[in-house]
């Protein structure tokens, strides 16, 4: 009996020791730089019943973006027997496990691997849909889309136009894994949507969470226009939600106002929406009420929603991971200043990546994170908040004597 008591006691001592050691372990013992830690926030959302009409609203399943995409592809392949899913390494499940189980279920004549030729894959898709199929090719990383750029811009976007509707490439929905992932480096982190923004005839869609991903993907596959569906790969496993198991679609070409506010409009898409949500939480502590819009369809973008919001708030902050020059934000900023000039209380602020190739180890410095966005919000609210002295002194002199170092967060620091 005494030995057992001793054993229990030692267990408790060891457990306490372990808890203490874990608590006291220095938190900053990493050997590489990283961005600000994410705020503890719940990013999961409920189904927006205004947009999505469900037959069984209670039949939900917890999925991440990866699984919701598999689910969407499963439904698409089941509902239309003329649908094909293919790409590099797609057959065994894909490098991100987005196509797991599809080959076993639908066979190799509908779900198959292609050789390592992006130009060939997209050119092949154009022919396939022109002959009447529905093609869902996959580009493994957004950085590899450039061999296919010619096919997208010259064939996919223009086939309908140049044949006056006799042929069309509407059956293409190309899935692309894009965006920064923390350790991607130059060629596994790029965001190429800006390169395609210039092309009339293409549609680009970017979801932010699993519910959106499934609905938008099904809508993109069934849309009568060719769509490039960019999936933020960092959210493949990180973003989890209770997703309806049935077949539902989310309308394309409509932005969504995630959160109502009256001071500043924050506009973003994909993984940047999380940063906007975190920054708006930080701003709320200062009493700034932010309105967050998820653009969802980047091209053609829903300008009505943006206009309505900017007319209400008078301030706009756009964020995306792509470089700032001629990014998606540049186009929207130009249009906003054109249409909403007299309602603006401050110039449009873009908090985006710098104009460099995507860096290898400097990624935490490059990405627009919640701190940079919060800084931008404060800058936009500078005049308002000057009197209440809630913001640093540097912004108080903003519109009277601006200094380039104070103003710009989208230029490289001069010491670099």
């Amino acid at each position: 009996y005494q030995r057992r008591v001793h054993g229990d006691f030692m267990f408790k001592v060891l457990a306490c020791k372990r808890a203490l050691s874990l608590a006291l372990l220095p938190k900053f013992s990493r050997t590489f730089s990283s961005g600000p830690a994410p705020l503890k926030m719940d990013f999961s959302e409920k189904v927006n019943t205004k947009e999505i009409v469900l037959k069984n609203p209670s039949k939900l399943k917890k999925m991440n973006i990866c699984q919701s995409i598999t689910n969407a592809l499963d439904i698409a392949l089941a509902s239309n027997p003329n649908t094909y899913v293919y790409g590099e390494d797609v057959k065994f499940g894909g490098v991100f496990r987005c196509t797991v189980g599809l080959n076993e279920k639908y066979g190799t004549d509908r779900v198959f691997n292609t050789p390592l030729s992006e130009q060939g894959i997209i050119g092949f898709s154009v022919g396939l849909v022109a002959a009447g199929g529905v093609a869902i090719p996959e580009i493994q990383f957004g950085d590899y889309i450039f061999p296919a750029f010619d096919q997208f811009v010259n064939e996919v976007a223009k086939y309908r136009y140049r044949t006056n509707g006799l042929f069309n490439t509407g059956g293409i929905c190309c899935r692309v894994a894009y965006g920064a992932v923390g350790h991607g480096g130059h060629y596994h982190s790029q965001t190429p949507e800006a390169h395609f923004m210039h092309t009339a005839g293409l549609t680009m869609v970017i979801p932010r969470n699993p519910i959106q991903a499934k609905g938008l993907l099904l809508a993109s596959i069934r849309s009568p226009d060719p769509v490039i569906f960019f999936e933020p790969k960092i959210l493949y496993r990180m973003s989890e939600d209770l997703v309806p198991e049935e077949d539902y679609e989310i309308p394309l070409r409509k932005a969504e106002v995630i959160k109502e506010g009256k001071d500043v409009t924050l506009l973003g898409y994909g993984a940047s929406v999380r940063q906007l949500q975190m920054a708006s939480k930080m701003a709320e502590e200062k009493g700034i009420s932010c309105e967050i819009i998820d653009l969802r369809t980047i091209l053609p973008y829903d300008f009505e929603t943006i206009e309505k919001s900017v007319n209400k708030t008078g301030r706009l902050l756009i964020t995306h991971e792509a470089p700032v020059t001629s990014g998606a934000g540049a186009e929207i900023a130009a249009k906003v200043q054109e249409k909403c000039f007299l309602h603006m209380k401050a110039p449009v602020k873009r908090v985006c990546g710098y104009d460099t190739p995507f860096p290898f180890v400097y990624e935490p410095f490059y990405l627009p994170n919640r701190v940079k966005i919060f800084d931008g919000i404060q800058e936009l609210m500078a005049e308002q908040l000057t009197t209440s002295s809630q913001i640093p002194f540097k912004y108080c002199l903003l519109y009277t004597s601006p200094s380039p170092r104070d103003l710009s967060t989208s230029r490289m620091p001069s010491s670099a």
Partner: protein, 347 residues
């Protein structure tokens, strides 16, 4: 992870990595002994059969000559490259290195053999499996690992990472992340060499997966049209990431794919085959006969990259059997040295 691991976790600096690698150097330091007669007596190595396309098979030798000094040199280089790859694996798993890491252990014979067949005045450009080529071109392990960790002392000043290692002074134009992009670049380098009239070649490597990229056919056409001194080498390690060659290529004879460029297929697990073929290919290009294509059959023990175990598409049984059935260049050189020693002992 237990408490002890967390307490003992510390920064792995360059000194620690050196310590891991120094085990190699201790094992490799050979005792000085009687050099007369023994060092320079040649060892004859029979070369495996090769396949040619639009070439005369007789232009390639069937036997290679080597000696003990050369064998030890090759053994040192290959073991160094092998140990570096294993070390990169370890430090990646320790999270000291992040990003993408593509290892080429099992393929050391190819990089050392190619270096043995060309000179440091020749130019070399390859794809992302480039660690061995950096060492072969003359750089140090410290600079390689510093580059992987993103330090300023790395070969590309920390900006490139594992996939973009370069060495300007020895004409190593780097690893390249985008598949197939290095082949037109290599063709351009060859054009520059020809324009300057120098007796040099450009060795342009790509993999079996990249062979299906359109830009390789474009580059090969230009090279043959303008008779450029470029040697295209397809490093066929039988798997393009997860897809085996039969499933991705209609024509798996990669040495014929760049028609009308003549081609030859050799066994990359025999370093002497690689060396002799490279020498002949270099002679061919320098004499003004135009480009040549090599297909080198080899095998990588790791998966495609650190995030790929390499077992789902190559079952454990098959990959281990291959290991045991085929000896790599390292085993070959080891065996030759031990045979030589046995012979000497028996005498």
């Amino acid at each position: 992870m237990c408490i002890r691991d967390r307490y003992q976790r510390r920064v792995h600096g360059i000194q620690d990595i050196n310590r891991m690698l120094s085990i190699t150097f201790k094992q490799l330091s050979c005792r000085s002994s009687n050099i007369f007669g023994r060092m320079f007596s040649s060892i004859k190595v029979p070369l495996p059969n090769l396949e040619v396309y639009k070439l005369d098979k007789n232009m390639f030798p069937t036997v290679a000559e080597t000696n003990r000094e050369e064998l030890i040199n090759y053994y040192k280089q290959m073991t160094l490259q092998r140990r570096i790859e294993i070390t990169c694996d370890e430090i990646y798993k320790m999270k000291e290195v992040r990003g993408f890491c593509h290892l080429m252990d099992g393929q050391e014979g190819v990089s050392v053999g190619i270096e043995a067949g060309i000179t440091k005045q020749d130019h070399l450009i390859t794809a992302y499996r480039c660690h061995g080529y950096l060492i072969g071109r003359g750089d140090t392990p410290e600079r390689l690992i510093a580059e992987m960790m993103g330090r300023l002392t790395g070969c590309s000043k920390g900006k490139g990472g594992s996939m973009h290692m370069t060495l300007l002074k020895n004409r190593f134009y780097g690893g390249n992340g985008i598949v197939g992009a290095q082949v037109p670049i290599g063709t351009g380098i060859a054009f520059g060499i020809k324009y300057d009239g120098k007796p040099e070649v450009c060795v342009s490597l790509y993999g079996d997966g990249a062979a299906n990229q359109g830009q390789i056919a474009e580059a090969a056409n230009m090279a043959k049209l303008w008779n450029l001194p470029v040697i295209y080498i397809c490093e066929n390690n039988l798997y393009a990431m997860g897809t085996c060659v039969a499933r991705s290529s209609a024509n798996t004879k990669f040495y014929t794919r760049l028609d009308p460029i003549p081609g030859v297929k050799i066994d990359g697990q025999n370093i002497f085959a690689v060396r002799e073929t490279m020498k002949k290919a270099r002679e061919w290009c320098i004499s003004g006969k135009g480009p040549m294509c090599l297909e080198i059959l080899t095998y990588r023990y790791h998966g495609h990259s650190m995030s790929d175990a390499g077992l789902s598409y190559r079952t454990r049984a098959v990959s281990y059997t291959h290991l045991r059935a085929h000896e790599t260049s390292l085993h070959l050189v080891c065996r030759l040295l031990l045979e030589k020693k046995k012979k000497r002992m028996s005498k």
